[in-house]
Amino acid sequence: MLTCKDFLRDLSDYLDESLDTQIRTRLEEHISACPNCWVIADTTRRTIQIYKGMDPYPVPPDIQERLMAALERKIAAKRTL
């Protein structure tokens, strides 16, 4: 029988679905019988999902202009070589 410690060790791979079927089945058996590990798996899954749903940061226009100006200088310098 898997212990909670065993379950935690494999939690990341379990959530990433990168385990083979045999180990996966054993982990699923464990969480169906262990409410604490079920909660940990569920809240960890939601933690990952919530971060994945974050929008990229908009680059402020002044920073974007500075970047483009620096690139243009670089490109011009490359051309004159």
Partner: protein, 206 residues
Amino acid sequence: MAVSSQATTDESTLVAQAREGDAVAFGELVHRYEGRIFRLAQHITQNREDAEDVLQETFLKAYEHLDQFQGNSKFYTWIVRIAVNQSLMKLRRRKADKSVSLDETIDTGEDTIVREIAAWGEDPEQRYSREELGGLLDTAIQGLEPPYRSVFVLRDIEDLSTEDTADALGLSIPAVKSRLLRARLQLREKLTRQFKRKGDDAFAYM
């Protein structure tokens, strides 16, 4: 630099055009990824000014070394690697006197600590505004040590594979995996304190 109607052009075509000196094509690549690079740099450096520098340095370096891009990885993965290196340099410089290093041996033992065991209430997305939620998520990430933070940002925010993350950070695959697990559990812990269902608390299920 004008960004023309290349918004739907395939990435490898844009890279090929940029390598031949097409500045507009390179501009489109910048436009595609600047937001993600800016976010990554802010997360790793935890400093707005440094992130602005990293953004600029990343694309300047990418342009300069475009001929070294092999094309066997995605362009995005390649620039992420540049951005990570630039960010870590900033972090090290800023914290030079505090000896922050990504290479330091950290405890990757089995002590994956779980203290808060409580189910979350309603979806946090419903309970908080986007700004509030973004603030909570950023604060939680700030609380992670840089070795964990960098791995989490690349794997779970930027969606890089374990292999690409290991490559970008110069770590082994087991090291990426163990740091990712610790990072995820630490964030889960922090977020659970915010999002747990009212009246629900540790050991409620025991």
